[in-house]
Symmetry: D2
Subunit: 284 residues, 4 copies
């Protein structure tokens, strides 16, 4: 996603200075015109006011802000940080005062959308932060998005993103349990997918993934280990705020098993096959 | 649903002779032109070859076939029974030989669709049974449906219906957990519903139920006690065929709690509010 | 267990005529003095009034009663069948009328206890059936048990056994989750087991299995595929009678995964290691 | 528990200076000889080297250390803090550096045991912290405990306590599901409790709570809202460290429902009755 955002911004005439902890990925970005920085602090030093970050998990984000050579080790007075990762709300609430203490501003702005929609500037941004900071970010966010919704204070964007991904993970696991139920009763997967594609729960994700669900090769849009991390975050956030989430916990169990069995780098749609093949077996 | 089917068949020029265990409902059907029979056997006696049944649960269906004054207590040689309830596959597999031993034929043909789509003949039939029996049923089913899919032998239609309803129940409970997660982080329900309506999991059911989810009064399309019964059937069927279904079990827990708390007659969409109000609470 | 019961009965001076679908097992029993019958019916034909059965699952029991060469294919008038398997209550309620229609009587009498306790006549029998049939069985059951409890009508013994095994499976999975939780926080398994052995939940099973839990080889007292079958039965029974069982469903998920991954023949205590190794993984 | 610890220490000849956020409780402690302090800082100021804290949850503990008039707002150089609450490991790991930065030392030392065992100095301490700090705490801890186990660095004691309470909560919910399963099949609760009291999972907690489980009034040893908080902590800790815990999540669901329905102040054993009465219902 980071690369697609850089490409989109470049198309829109923005010069991007960037850093990636994966050196090979950074090299490829350089070939596409990105100026490379030595570390996060160097990105912030060179930026003319706005820094976007998007990585996989909470620990990594803490580290690029507060770790060795992190953003906040330099002079960031007046800067605006647009944090686009999918994190726990408490991480946003914890980082914001540190950023403000350094004289800068932080919003969380995770997005809904695919790589192609990022390339076309059609993402959907769910933003948490102070209203004036969200307004300050609009000029940049509008180059990337079709819609910007201000959900509330810092962390509110992350909360919305976790809620949305919870729904996606649940839909995939529900499909897994439906197909496992049906195939053990002798139904064909192909017919089941045809019917489910016409059910009131049919949705855009299912339409886009039919091929994969039928066993054909397909692009990876999001991998299982990342979706599992999002569900771990959702369940932990729910537990900390006082609600037991029985469906989410069930989904997390299946995702954790898939990752533990070595399926973490596969597309999230492969959870359906994993569940059928690895989480049950007919009685004799 | 039974009433809508009767009305549709009447519109299509079919004389319907019927029976309902709810006397008041039967009286209303009589006012709309249905000839009333004294019991299931009298329906079969008076029918000219085809009998449709649709009621709520497995025990009731066994009883209208095999109980006192049930279909099979009369002479049903040559009859075709089209069973449209949402049942466990094993019920279909258990009834079929009894029907055949009586010289008649049975198919299971549960449907996807709403009351209005039944009135318009736009249901979606998922059929289990022998191919020739399914073919024999087409003339009648075509008056009611936009699509007829033959899923496999007796019970296969029920298996597909349970798989589809599992997905619907999971979607509702996922929405419940998403909204509980978000509102405890301070998000507004209205905004969350707006975002979820634009997510890759957005679907026809969600679009139709936005008003209800926002707390406005709405029609009941399916009640919680019936959806719970379907999930009990799905979990039992999965358990008997050898798969633990962690998501479905989580959904069933929430549905069972809602019914036990007296919400059984409310619309399935109300599970979202039930979960937020009755299944968790912020820590101090 | 079947072999231990035969040995105990032989010690008590009872001549046992038996059959086993595993020919090798039957041969070993013959070497220990059991008279071999060609099939279940031949057992009933040769018995002088009482037939004991104990096998793994519902389908098998239906088959030895009602299948080809099953008990009920012969003349069983006046016989008493003591069925000691761990089954679903509905199986007991379904078989009893068939046995009675053949002029015989049936009780379900599953037991708590280990192989050594069977050898010593120290089992604990939970019995379902008519009071007079239970009384008729006492002479035989007393040779095998330290206690006989009449739980209710046919199926009640099975219900109690499922309830007891549910607790055992839950304890093992709770131990699995405790140890996974602790070891990911850096605790040593050895110390955790020491503390848990002193906690208010410490019990006889845990004391007997400490070695296994610490990774040392140990005898198999019950295998994972059998405990999984019992949990499938418990969850199906609960679903059919109207309760969602969230803990049991979670346990079943772990057991199903273990069996699907090839751990079905290992001791039930190995679920603890399976869960730690195959159902989760630290985040980066 | 705090009061029992104060009483025990007083019996052992220790002068206790204390503070409680519940003024009435503090007044009663004063009547029993405790010197009252105005706030946590005043406790630390007056103490001669060792401060014990035990309260309900993570936020409260953070507040008595770092909040207004908290321990760390005074001069605590050289002090040893023995924190005995049941918290998340991350809370211990987060507080320790703050305490050390103030020149003091912190260990976490939650305990297993009841009010009477505290009065008799028979608690079981699970300790996290540096070895020399644990050694420094022994003189005080030995007055309260029958055993002290050093589990690892800061937070390790909390991790062990959560793992132990997870097992207790699981046992109670398993009992709830067993009794719900059995009673819906017609068994009597009294007989089921008799059998379960003789099963391999029978334990000290069950023996102590038989009266309560049979519906008789009994003392409250731990309340449902506190056990729920512990399970929220366990599930959140597991989620943050990368494991989905299906059984724990199921238990948490039942506990959360009980608290949301107003049962939070009842004894944890009442979860069994709550589940039977409020989480399921027979089908018609």
């Amino acid at each position: 996603m980071g690369r697609a955002i850089q490409a989109r911004l470049a198309d829109q005439g923005v010069d991007v200075i960037g850093w990636d902890r994966d050196t090979a990925a950074m090299q490829r970005a350089a070939e596409r015109g990105m100026t490379i920085a030595a570390h996060p602090r160097a990105v912030a030093d060179a930026a003319d006011g706005t820094v976007i970050s998007i990585i996989t998990e909470d620990g990594g984000v803490r580290s690029i802000f507060r770790g060795k050579d992190g953003f906040l080790t330099g002079d960031v007075r007046g800067m605006l940080f647009i944090e686009m990762s999918t994190l726990q709300p408490m991480t946003g609430r914890e980082l914001a005062p540190a950023v403000e203490a350094a004289g800068a501003r932080l919003i969380d702005s995770p997005v809904l959308g695919t790589i192609p929609s990022a390339r076309d500037g059609k993402l959907y941004a769910m933003v948490g932060g102070k209203a004036q900071d969200v307004d300050a970010a609009r000029a940049v966010l509008e180059k990337l998005t079709r819609k910007i919704v201000h959900m509330g204070p810092n962390g509110a964007g992350y909360a919305m993103k976790l809620a949305a991904n919870l729904g996606l993970a649940a839909f995939i696991q529900a499909t897994a349990e439906s197909l496992a139920l049906g195939t053990r009763e002798g139904l064909s997967i192909q017919q089941m997918i045809e019917v489910l594609g016409d059910a009131p729960t049919a949705n855009g994700w299912f339409a886009a993934k039919k091929k994969l669900l039928l066993g054909e090769p397909d692009d990876i849009t999001l991998d299982l280990k990342t979706l599992r991390k999002d569900m771990l975050s959702a369940v932990a956030t729910g537990a900390l705020s006082g609600t037991g989430m029985p469906l989410s916990a069930g989904v997390l169990t299946a995702l954790s098993a898939a990752v533990a069995q070595g399926w973490g780098d596969k597309d999230i749609g492969e959870l359906v096959r994993f569940f059928r093949e690895h989480m049950g077996q007919k009685l004799d």
